[in-house]
């Protein structure tokens, strides 16, 4: 038993870190340190650099264009990106749709879509959730009716993240309305330029435009864009959701936030001295640091277990990672807001284009921190709410 990284892994970490230091554009890094999402252009630019290096899809098998890394390497790579901070490979492409195509897709689909995914020539988005189907995903109603060599899709998706950037969407649709809930669902790939698709922004409480509603009105989708068998799309969905093995822990991202927090708490005054010198504030930070260290070890354990598992079933330990990972991130965002004090409350423009609102009314480091706190409340809701995770644990782990 040895929890330490091997010499090779330590060398690999250095290689990644050096690459990021050399290649990551300063503007991207600075934007992310401020807590903002990178722009579309920044994401694309970075993904292409990773792709040129062969690192665009850490988890993909070599034959599909992946780097052939061990789980430990993948973990190190992602952690280094998060704590740089640098954009991660676009999840819709690399961790969601790509693996489904690799697992269930035809050779033609692989050839057509995978290289463009790697290079972010196509930006994908996810069409799963619907207004009536949140935690109860299988309750979806969007219909696809086969007519000749096309499906005709009608319905509505929601919470579609960054659909405004997307070239393609992967969809769960109901192809057999008479089948039981989780049967009769199919997995379709749809070009966002197809007539009949309307994207409507959803503005979140902090004012950001991250998610969308997507409407489908007689949208024609070629049958060749069906992944896997008709009415077997739930297998793809389960595979995709179960694929999320330790990503939600986001240990590197939280470490970066804690570093940032310590900087801000050094700048921000409280009681005539830097906030970081207040025992109660320090206590709160320390408690997060400890939880994060334990979470990091838990991730390592999951990696070690995963490395030996042969089946593709989701590991129930991912529920622990989801719950703790999001709790830690939310606490970080709350402390960052608190550290900034009254200056956190300036209503900045979360897209960061600047509407003049925030000019010279607060220190730079304080801007937008309340918005991030508000926005990050989503973390315990999405990706299977933390309540759903507790249900899963009670049933899958504890047999209750």
């Amino acid at each position: 038993m040895d929890l330490r990284f091997t010499e090779e892994e330590i060398a690999f970490r250095k290689e990644v870190r050096d690459f990021i230091a050399r290649e990551l554009p300063a503007a991207t890094r600075e934007r992310m340190i401020a807590g903002k999402s990178p722009t579309k252009e920044q994401v694309v630019e970075w993904q292409r650099k990773l792709n040129a290096k062969g690192w665009a899809a850490p988890e993909w098998p070599k034959e599909a264009g992946g780097p052939g890394w061990t789980l430990a390497q993948r973990y190190i790579f992602r952690e280094e990106l998060q704590q740089a901070p640098a954009p991660s490979p676009l999840g819709f492409n690399i961790n969601m749709c790509g693996p489904v195509i690799i697992e269930f897709g035809t050779e033609a689909q692989k050839k057509r879509f995978l290289p463009r995914m790697l290079n972010l020539d196509d930006w994908w988005c996810q069409g799963f959730s619907e207004p009536g189907a949140g935690s109860d995903l299988a309750g979806l109603k969007t219909r696809a009716v086969r007519e000749g060599d096309h499906y005709v899709v009608n319905g509505q998706k929601t919470w579609t993240t960054l659909a405004q950037h997307a070239d393609w969407i992967f969809l769960l649709v109901r192809t057999d309305p008479n089948a039981k809930k989780q049967e009769g669902i199919s997995f379709l790939l749809v070009d966002m330029k197809t007539p009949g698709i309307t994207v409507r922004p959803i503005i979140t409480i902090e004012g950001g435009h991250e998610v969308n509603e997507v409407f489908f009105d007689d949208v024609k989708v070629p049958v060749e864009n069906l992944v896997g068998e008709e009415n077997k799309g739930w297998d793809c969905a389960k595979f995709l959701l179960g694929n999320e093995r330790f990503g939600q822990a986001r240990v590197g991202a939280s470490r970066e936030r804690i570093r940032r927090l310590k900087v801000i708490a050094q700048e921000s005054m409280d009681g005539g001295r830097p906030l970081m010198e207040d025992p109660d504030f320090r206590r709160k930070v320390t408690e997060i640091e400890v939880e994060l260290k334990a979470l990091e070890m838990t991730v390592m354990r999951v990696i070690a277990t995963e490395t030996k598992r042969k089946d593709k079933k989701p590991d129930p330990a991912t529920s622990v990672l989801k719950i703790k990972g999001t709790e830690i991130q939310q606490m970080c965002s709350e402390l960052l807001m608190k550290a900034a004090g009254p200056y956190a409350w300036v209503d900045g423009d979360p897209e960061g284009e600047g509407d003049g609102n925030e000019v010279d009314v607060a220190p730079d480091w304080a801007l937008g921190l309340a918005g991030i706190y508000f926005n990050w409340r989503k973390q315990s809701i999405y990706g299977g709410s933390n309540e759903i995770q507790r249900n899963i644990m009670a049933k899958a782990f504890l047999g209750l």
């Binding site: 959803i202 409480i205 608190k338 409350w345 209503d347 000019v359 706190y373 508000f374 409340r377």
Partner: protein, 381 residues
Amino acid sequence: MDFDLSEEQRLLQDSVAKLLADKYGFEQRKAYMKTKEGWSTEVWSQMAELGLLGLPFAEDEGGFGGGAVETLLVAEQLGRAIALEPWLTTVVIGGSFLRNGASAELRGALVPKIAAGELKLAFAQVERQSRYDLFDVLTSAKKDGSGYVLNGRKGYVVHGDSAEKLIVTARTAGGQRDLKGIGVFLVDANAPGVQRRGYRTVDGQRAAEVELSDVRAEAVLGNPENGLPLVDQVVDEAIAALAGEAVGAMQVAHDMTVDYMKTRQQFGRPIGSFQALQHRAADMLVALEQARSMSLFAAMAVAERDPAERRKSMAAVKVQVGRSARFVGQQSIQLHGGIAMTMEYACGHYFKRLTVNDAMFGDADHYVRYLSDTGGLVQAA
């Protein structure tokens, strides 16, 4: 002990509730936010008509002679609507400064205007380094002839962009964090040397960053050499009003959440039928009721004659209300799920307002420390 409202108090409560029911639907509020002022001048006029703007002033000075209970009642209703008007800054804070720190002559000149809705006040207190310490003041006030000239920079001046007059804390003597040597000054917001940059705050209100360059004060409020006790008194009254506002907002957030739980279906049943969520809603109710109790305590304790005891009581109010507001706010979002994360849905706006409400004049953590450092509420024995 008597928790019943008098006939007059009930009338007051009902009239505010009716005004807000008519004028403060969620869509109406959004429209007000988009105006130049960021709030409704029409509602403001109607508040004047109902007497809400002269509420805390003596009747013979043009007010309505309301006390802490009346303030609480109005604040709770405004909290229910998460109203945007400058009532707290003008009537509660400004009113308290005038009642406790102004000459009868000055009150005679200003109170009728305030009551009529013609004069709005803002409190310029926060500085970049001060965080929540009322006595941490770098802005300077230099005696010049019979008056004072102010220099410095104030931040998060709530409604500082629409106010006609600013109430400014500034240092007449001593160092940055000395308790003595702080004065309170009335400043014409359009006087030469006043520069204001208005902005929207995350809870939908308006505020301004204010720079003062050789600005001549119009008047002094209280003792210019030792104005901190006055500031403390005023802020404690503001805390009592903020507690009422928070309780009103929490009540609506909680009601909204429970209603949603009854209608939202998942897995073929209303989510309110899931016990884990029921218990969360019950815990929210416990938090709300504890906060409501403290808002009532606040309305009483703010009249306490011993300033040290009053400050400690108001610190306790801040702690309980802040803790409750955080829990109720966060959980109202969580129990709704995604829908409450959207700008189009009211719940998130209550959450944001509750977040800022907690931190105004110091958050719960700040007051835990204050109360700890001053010996707490219970004597050792």
